[in-house]
Symmetry: C2
Subunit: 492 residues, 2 copies
């Protein structure tokens, strides 16, 4: 057996064990008996130790040293790139720091939940300060003299930089703010959908919608959970959604969003199963798939007309009387504080705010004690109204408490990628509105599978998007699309 | 940290990983997407390798050598007993033999399923012969000069011997055969339940019955599966059952049976969580709990009267008109070929047959090629009619194909233990019929929890039953109980 084959045999088992750890997470959020939580924590801890010891196993370093990459093909070199990158990252962080981070963030999540319930940032501030201090230490170990924030960002979006994202986001903010203000101030305002919608029927429709978007139920399943998510790679990719009797769009568009994530995983070349290439290549590329499924395709005029028919069929007459009004209801902008409830126009403003603040905290130019004030002042500048309580402000997201610094910007990067991909898709196979009005996403999702999804981890994140688009992705297509779409809906 | 604490810390992680492997099995039988099977096989393989390398880790041997048992309390000594026993067993089997056994039995299960579908023992015979040859090798490695069958039996029922079981079973066979013949030939024959029963309603009732028997749903759940089973220990013990529209008793009594297994796991002293004492001590003791829940308690006159009321409430009028007739229907004997469908009187005859044959195969006195003939001739002697096809004969059970030799007798040992425990229970807290007629099993299951279940692995299997009974368990109470019960039902 060659050194490469030995390494890949070892890696394949590690990937398989990683899948098991992921499935335990699925189990916990969907079917686990409530009282099992303390035992589950120990089980997860044991599994994480197994994974950590494999990821830091010195044999991996020996294999990497012994392999001559010149003898490998593209797939082989890509596998080595992923394995080397992961091994070097995990090897740079001292084990004491990694353990301390695990311990502190685990406790911090509990403190955050308590502080959020009490709307008390001051109670959480010292805890978050400890997390930030440790993340800065971790970043220093990883950065090797380079930029601290970039070192953290690299965990979620290899190759991206804080400066590059800053330039991108700076170009977005003024146009998004202007569009939001114009639309919200327009004379014509779409009417929201109202009524009560049976939750079992919503779940039935959610299954149908997932299938409309090409989700393969033979290798997956859809369940209800508190937070929608997609979990797993390869032949077992499960998704969840949620239901509320008064907000069926939440159920339907969460389902389509998660279907985008899952379709990416299911669309990867089966030859890459249980290898480093067998999963989505970055958070940003992942989000590009979930967002383009949800927004550019799912909230299009065509698909919303199809959804209008489905809902009438399932629920009878709706409070909005025709497909045009329904399209408006699906896309209606809402004033609000919460990122996860934000519409297509304002969502990125929520992300930009977090990116600015976390980059400053990691750089050391914003003290954690000053975070709430900085958040509230930036929020007022971006949204035009003040935050009324910490749970609607800087305590709303779990991310920072668990140490996820560098994660937020991948949401907006995904939107930027989705905008560019949609432009390329339409240029390549034409406007899809007629097919979407029949609920047929085959051409659109097929194009994405062929040009993005099937490659898995073969290319670097920015490369795969550029290859698919035929041009370097940037913010213009997304902003043009939003201005055209909402300009029409709001009759601007 | 003392050497004992070091070992227990390591062991605790191994136990946690074992729980994860078990939960993957649950997932596979209940919620796993159909198409995930090939990936799951790799995941399970990776997990088994992790577990095997921990179980054979030389550090365990070093810890065991370094620990002075005289410094430990009863719990500590029992933990060491379990860990030492497992370590010595796994260390005695050469890794090449263990791998070959895993490979051969994995393939043999497929061959068995094909041969069973084709009713073709000749096609399976060479495959089974290879399994038996390897099991004999394994037994020789384990036995260290002792009896081969005893060495295998020890995996499922530590301390039991083939000779001891033979004496027990020899005393059972004639009384069981006589009782079956008398009952089946009696003038009075109970009427079977007929009708169709909604399967969702059956599942609702199954949940109620599990609760009646003390199953804690906060630390478990009940799902539907092809084969009923109980899975997991400690705080996460899940059970399954099955439904058939014409056979609700199958659903209900499978549920009660699995509740017995689960209640044992849930009833263990919480101090033993994720230690070797934190799970049922042997297959025989486990089966004693499932059987006493199912039969001595669940099929009692009292509890069947309660079930009659429940079923009338859920399904309206039944084909049997009163509680007495219903009690007869619940306990009616049936002629048949299949062990898993057998009634309380004939079940053990099925097991005795298998015990005789597998003991001879392992001893080398029965050639695998002659198995079918030996089975069919013994079956005719025990049951009075001939086997009509191999799938109703020696191909009906999966056990031998996957190498489970020494497992079958624990089913009957469990019944013997259940008979003795029931005698002790009644002697201690009195006849429970009145409470059971109200669906109240609290005293009966509470007695079992207190006297058997809570001890987990603290005592040896035969010890815990003898301690609970106050006398050495033997076949007489079980046979007396069966003769009295069926004598009354069949008016003998």
């Amino acid at each position: 057996m060659s050194k490469y084959d030995e390494l890949m045999t070892f890696q394949r088992q590690t990937e398989a064990l990683g899948e098991i750890a992921g499935r335990l997470g699925w189990d916990q959020e969907t079917v686990m008996p409530q009282g099992a939580a303390p035992q589950r924590a120990e089980e997860m801890g044991a599994m994480e130790e197994v994974l950590h010891s494999r990821r830091t196993d010195p044999r991996v370093g020996d294999w990497l040293d012994a392999i001559d990459e010149a003898t490998l093909d593209d797939v082989g070199r890509a596998n080595i790139r992923h394995i080397r990158r992961a091994y070097e990252r995990v090897s740079r962080v001292p084990i004491e720091l990694a353990s301390k981070l695990a311990r502190v963030t685990s406790a911090a999540q509990g403190s955050w939940a308590k502080a959020r319930a009490a709307d008390d940032f001051a109670a959480f501030s010292p805890v978050l300060e400890e997390v930030v201090t440790l993340k800065r230490e971790e970043a220093a170990a990883l950065a090797d003299g380079g930029d601290l924030y970039d070192a953290l960002l690299d965990d979620y979006e290899p190759g991206a930089t804080g400066a590059g994202l800053q330039a991108m986001f700076d170009a977005m903010r003024p146009r998004l703010v202007a569009l939001r203000d114009e639309a919200m101030g327009a004379d014509h305002q779409p009417v929201a959908l109202s009524g009560r919608f049976d939750e079992k029927t919503q779940m039935k429709m959610a299954r149908k919608l997932a299938r409309n978007f090409g989700y393969n139920m033979k290798n997956g399943r859809l369940d209800r959970a508190v937070h929608p998510f997609s979990s797993g790679s390869g032949l077992d990719v499960r998704i969840t959604t949620r239901t509320s009797p008064t907000d069926p769009f939440n159920c339907f568009y969460s389902t389509i969003h998660e279907t985008g994530h899952a379709a990416y995983e299911q669309g990867i070349d089966p030859d890459y199963l249980l290898t480093p290439l067998g999963q989505g290549v970055s958070m940003g590329v992942h989000e590009s798939q979930s967002r383009i499924y949800e927004n550019q395709i799912g909230r299009s005029r065509g698909f919303s007309a199809y959804l209008f028919g489905l809902m009438q069929h399932s629920f009878g007459d709706l409070s909005v009387g025709d497909a045009d009004a329904f399209y408006g209801a699906v896309n209606k902008l809402h004033a609000g504080f919460i990122r996860t409830e934000a519409d297509e126009v304002q969502y990125n403003l929520h992300v930009l705010l977090r990116f600015d603040l976390e980059r400053q905290m990691i750089a050391g130019t914003l003290a954690v004690a000053d975070l709430e004030e900085a958040w509230n002042s930036q929020f007022r500048a971006d949204f035009g109204y003040g935050v009324n309580k910490a749970s609607n402000g800087c305590l709303q997201d779990v991310h920072w408490s668990v140490g996820l610094f560098g994660y937020f910007p991948t949401y907006s990067l995904g939107n930027v990628y989705a905008g560019s991909l949609m432009k390329a898709l339409v240029a390549d196979i034409g406007d899809q509105e007629a097919a979407l009005a029949d609920g047929d996403t085959t051409n659109a999702t097929g194009w994405l599978r062929e040009n993005v999804q099937r490659h898995g981890g073969l290319y670097k994140p920015a490369e795969v998007i550029e290859l698919a688009c035929g041009f370097q992705p940037d913010v213009t297509p997304l902003l043009d699309y939003l201005e055209a779409k909402f300009g029409e809906i709001y009759r601007l």
